[in-house]
Symmetry: C2
């Protein structure tokens, strides 16, 4: 009996071998695809479905690729020949909302934005806000340790998960973590699961740490600067002032020009770079006024609004970045992160790399936390070697500045060849050994993260 | 050659075999001691000292107990016969403070309060504030995953560490984590180290996530209630209101009476329980006013001050809790944590246990985060069996209410026999296997955490 038939015998209709389903599971949003189709997609509807799938996978030594919404940017959920795809998107219920205890228990397939719409009715929210929030699942956010625009003020996924329920490679179900604010019983396996990219187990439930919706104004500023260096210096001045914006985004000239073209706005003058900043909470107006003064002192041309809708219109320019890049060609979106004071130096490195490799690298940065997304644009669907060479230079530059090769997208398949360089061989080996404790047969997402290309 | 002689050969004067040093290493502040003296204390002054000690320990299969300031409450750092004590207290330098990047790199032996005095000169602080902050080390705070009074608003140690440098059992040095706000390269071994209680490796350096000092007022309230139930309901009402106090502490009648006796204050009337609350930041006064109104509605007799010094005097009653308990006898300080809405129910359980076991259990709670410290008082230095029976009942009650048997003190030697019950056997075994990856010879803090008594 084939694996697909065994799955079908055990699980019935939730096993999908249609061409559409198999094709869709080959790729995420990284622009990369696996070399061929996986053997089946299991649309799990319950923990029991997940356990049965993993038992069959263990019995038959079949690799399993867990998928959320497929919006990842590192190829971590791309499935290929001989692999079972375990899709979590039908497990999308909110099990429990506890407003007084500020937590919710959810299944992994719920979309981030849908969850937040539901929570808003309770006056609550879950802060992680990747740019993909409308289309990405909570389980995927957990698997990648996602970040987003609000992280300097409100933290990353790791700061917003109290516990996870996990099905191990052999089908056993574990409950990790706590429902209380504090808890230190044994090792913190919850944090270990966050960002583990499908290599340790299948997250089938999560206890999320919530916040109450922010009361007060939301104020938005944009500031235009003559070049990216002065814009980066402006963001550094805001950080140094001690005022903590909710959002602080930096677009360099190439990024800004591309978005203006996409939105049919007048082209900005050469070199013009833009900061987009949002403050929120009871002191939002005072903070926005102070930031405006700081940016003007730094030579910025400031637009400020206390109006939420007008603020969303200002933010639309930043939010159109991905569309603008897609309009130029296939995009490799990079994701280096550095200590925030190194942001100007990292922009200098990008300028150097553009010259050295004769490339244009439009870059947007979460300037409040030092996370940059340089975009490499190319034709076709295979990253050209000179772009990988430039990316390699980019990663080494970030590490040299005290940073990391991925702030929030993860390693997946695209960056596994650089992982050992950042971690060091000893730590890399240790991480592989920990992976082997969870997955002794190596059936969970093989070829990703811990594989040297 | 004895182990002590081998250490002395390699390390010279930092190896201490004086009776005083060996005796001191037998106990922490839990009231428990090991059965006898360890074989030597190494006062490490450098990473190299730690590496050499671990190499000798590995070569000779000798157990190593890492110690900070010895202020733990679970016996996790108690060292006994045949064990090397590795004291980190001489490694107490601040290596680097980066105000713009909001991090500092420190050695583990620096005291929490000393670090914060140094940071204050930069306008910065490291939020974790265990009640022991004046006498506990940052390394010990990391080893236990410490909490404290400010956690509901400002988080626990796990939220305030970006990376750690770790010497493994075999002497290799690893650099875990990041210097950037975001970073998701591989598994989160930094979080795995936090709260691992000396079982995985020796923390020889830490990159701490800092905050800017809070600007604005600090306001303090006390509220007296006729009994602990109404006081707990008052704290729940504050939490439900959405106002987030910096501190919210609850003392039951037995705790309050004991402190009043210690401080020679008039005895409170029977049953009287007290909430002590502090607000901070730009909105501190408005928040304190709102909390005062809420507590009065709940039947509380409120005292409110906007004055910092007067506030400290009000807080002194709460801060005298440990002294008041010590004056009554030997104390077993328990540490259960529950979802905050379960706080009144947990107090009901404590009242039931007091009757069932014929004990008085003065209890103080970090009411803002649902972490309770019930105190068992006894004579002598061995916990009587009926107190362990009552503690057992207490732990099971907390777990039944969705909580945990330790919120911030850890497992150490005192709670290892309950660990598997909370984790479940599968998770407990998995944690032991992870421990074995780090420490295949089992020389790091044997008999603690993962040992079933």
């Amino acid at each position: 009996m084939t694996i697909a038939a065994a799955l079908r015998n055990a699980l019935g209709d939730v096993v999908d071998v249609t061409e559409n389903a198999l094709e869709a599971a080959r790729a995420d949003r990284s622009g990369h695809s696996s070399v061929g189709r996986p053997l089946a997609v299991v649309h799990a509807e319950s923990v029991e479905h997940v356990q049965q799938t993993m038992r069959i996978a263990t019995d038959t030594r079949t690799p399993v690729v867990v998928r959320g919404a497929g919006t990842g940017l590192a190829g971590g959920a791309n499935a290929g020949p001989g692999e079972i795809v375990l899709s979590m998107m039908r497990m999308n219920r909110v099990i429990e909302v506890r407003p007084d205890d500020l937590f919710a228990v959810v299944e992994p397939g719920i979309l981030n934005a849908e969850l937040n719409t539901l929570l808003a009715a309770h006056g609550l929210w879950w802060p992680p806000d990747p740019a993909s929030r409308d289309i990405s699942s909570v389980g995927g956010n957990i698997a990648t340790g996602a970040g987003g625009l609000l992280c300097a003020k409100y933290g990353v996924v790791r700061d917003a998960v109290l516990g996870v329920d996990v099905v191990l490679a052999d089908g056993r179900l574990l409950h990790l973590g706590h429902r209380s604010v504090k808890g230190v019983t044994g090792l913190d396996l919850t944090s270990l699961m966050i960002g583990s990219e499908g290599t340790l187990g299948v997250v089938v439930g999560a206890t999320l740490k919530l916040r109450r919706l922010v009361v007060g104004d939301i104020c938005t500023l944009t500031a235009l600067f003559p070049n990216v260096r002065t814009a980066a210096a402006g963001s550094t001045a805001v950080t140094a002032s001690g005022v903590q914006p909710a959002i602080m985004e930096l677009m360099d000239a190439k990024a800004l020009t591309a978005v203006h073209a996409l939105l049919s706005l007048p082209a900005p003058s050469a070199g013009t770079s833009q900061l987009t900043i949002q403050t929120d909470g009871p002191a939002a107006r005072a903070e926005a006024d102070r930031i405006a003064a700081i940016l003007q002192e730094c030579g910025g041309e400031v637009t400020l609004t206390y109006d939420r809708d007008e603020g969303e219109r200002l933010l639309a320019i930043r939010r159109s970045m991905h569309g603008a890049m897609a309009a130029l060609g296939t995009t490799l979106i990079e994701d280096v992160s550095v200590p925030r004071s190194a942001l100007p130096a990292m922009y200098d490195e990008i300028a150097r790399i553009e010259v050295a490799y004769n490339l244009a690298i439009p870059t947007v940065a979460h300037a409040g936390d030092g996370n940059l997304h340089p975009n490499f644009i190319f034709d076709g669907d295979v990253v050209p070697e000179n772009i990988w060479a430039a990316a390699d230079d980019l990663f080494r530059s970030a590490i040299r500045l005290g940073g990391t090769l991925t702030g929030e997208h993860g390693i997946g398949m695209l960056k596994s060849r650089w992982l050992a360089e950042e971690l060091g061989d000893d730590q890399w080996q240790l991480q592989r050994q920990i992976k082997a404790v969870f997955d002794p047969l190596g059936i969970l997402n093989p070829g990703k993260v811990f594989t040297r290309a």
